[in-house]
Symmetry: C2
Subunit: 378 residues, 2 copies
Amino acid sequence: MSVKFAVLGHGVVGSGVVELFYKNKESIEKRAGTEMELKYILDLREFPDTPYADKFTKDFNDILNDDEVTSVCECMGGLEPAFTFVKSCLERGKSVSTSNKELVAEKGDILLAIAKKMNCNFFFEASVGGAIPIIRPLHKCLAANEISAVSGILNGTTNFILTKMYNDKMSFEDALSLAQKLGYAEKDPTADIEGFDACRKICIISSLVYGKHVYPSSVYTKGISQIDLNDVQTADSMGYSIKLIANVRKLDDGRILPVVMPMLVPHSNIISSVSDVFNAVLVDGDAVDKVMFYGRGAGKFPTASAVVGDLIDSVKHKITVFSQSWDSAENNDFVAGIDSFKAKWYVRDNEKSYITDEEMTMSEAEMLGTAAIPVLEQ
Amino acid sequence: MSVKFAVLGHGVVGSGVVELFYKNKESIEKRAGTEMELKYILDLREFPDTPYADKFTKDFNDILNDDEVTSVCECMGGLEPAFTFVKSCLERGKSVSTSNKELVAEKGDILLAIAKKMNCNFFFEASVGGAIPIIRPLHKCLAANEISAVSGILNGTTNFILTKMYNDKMSFEDALSLAQKLGYAEKDPTADIEGFDACRKICIISSLVYGKHVYPSSVYTKGISQIDLNDVQTADSMGYSIKLIANVRKLDDGRILPVVMPMLVPHSNIISSVSDVFNAVLVDGDAVDKVMFYGRGAGKFPTASAVVGDLIDSVKHKITVFSQSWDSAENNDFVAGIDSFKAKWYVRDNEKSYITDEEMTMSEAEMLGTAAIPVLEQ
């Protein structure tokens, strides 16, 4: 008997999931250990010219009320109606795989708790780093480690812009225009440029690694719109690349400190070699030392690949994978604020640019000049 | 009730497994979902000064015949007695996690078949790339992909030597001496230098990705002992790093072509930024495009971390994870030989060094001059 699943949303990622499933159906079924059937695609639009036009429905209840459907891929994006739909599916014991980082960052704890209660799975590999396997390696292969820090280049748009500034000496504005022209940046690029996208992803990573939900509102977030071409070039001559880094570290007092900020990364750190739209996540564990995962952080098929990988896993695991989970955190006593962030800083004043000898807080660094940018220590 | 396990071998990796288990016991048990107890350590030597001196036994049958022991970590290395011990454990339904690449490369198919029959698990994350999670990501997170090629820097010793030649202009001999002095190379460095170690690892990766056992004897293997400092510097000035690359690709005729050879890697390829003793594996999938995994490929705790990660997984999965497996291949009709390997080549003759415009076979390239080194295309 075949396992039946549904795909919610037929946009970029959702259509990628459908196409990838049919393209590699034979090997996907072999890996899942069972025949699989796509039974429904939920979208308000119609796609009469696709080979699977008969699968479309506009009514979510068709999927929810069909007990044959045991797995669902959510690729709609945004908080609503995604949250309501995913919640309803889990409450009926249907496993869900999602690419929706906003959903996981804001509501992950609630959805994971329902999945646990109903003995099904809520998987979200695609929500961080697109194609890069990071959620499973973090919770599984590194299970024997205490993790002291994670640093990521988690937004392809900003990394593309910084690469163009670095390699081709383009201004921020020109690089942004090029990114928009190539389809790497949206018309309204705020979520990427200002770091909100990276913030959601470091929230998911922090929650998974440290076991309690970290909300985007508790994370100090600064984007790259104030990065000047002169700073990029000066930093380069000093042996550093400027990257938008999403970082979380464990403090000595047991709290964690997540931030999203442009940082100076030494050329000797492999993260500095991550260019263009590629993403990477560098993990420090007490046993493994440094491990890095690298790949395309976005795009139709890279993201679909992660969703389908989760789908295969949800078919194989009929009971909850409880370790890939975290608890609610009503108040964030364990999340430290930016005041606790100490680093050496790149400082520009009228006369010169330099890196401070001593570690200090951001407010101390900002008193020394303009363009204070911390140096990544990991 | 606690899950009881044994560790075979108390050398570098085995002692690392024991120390890491006790150090992070609380979080390991949380991730495994059960209490765990180390019941035996098998070694012919005695370690009276360790805090777990009472766990040692010299008799493998103590472990084999104890039905309470359901998981075993094999960290002895070498083919025998490791093969006999692991086979016996699996035949009794005990799951085994191993760091022994020789064992997996030569006997993986046999051991996987027994594990399947006995409904237990034979895990080997530590056998490739030490701390780097690569086996699980390959078979799991990338499950939705058809993989066209995998390239790895899979030997830390040779990568350290090539890095020293590249960065510090050391000769091969001086760099090897330094590696020996620092403990990165063995007294007899043949297995590393001549590529045999990397060969075993690409065999394991090839078997896993393409589903049939690939034996080391079917893989063309060339080491770095003939690499000249001049070639390293000339290649650098042309925009390439010379790396010992273990590569497998799928040919148009459906066969696969695994090789281990020094190759020229363009500086624009992230693999070229992998320095010192670090390892990396770059995977090309039809949906994900390029994904890379990076970390320490050897060392006591990095390798132990992978073994303990497998141990946790074997505790959680009481039935065989059949997808992380492959079939026997009595004859290797599906493995192509070096004659099928085509590339552009770096060629040195007396007058000059250059890269050929056309792709050609190795024998064609070698007729053009000395030091024919292929350019990595992936």
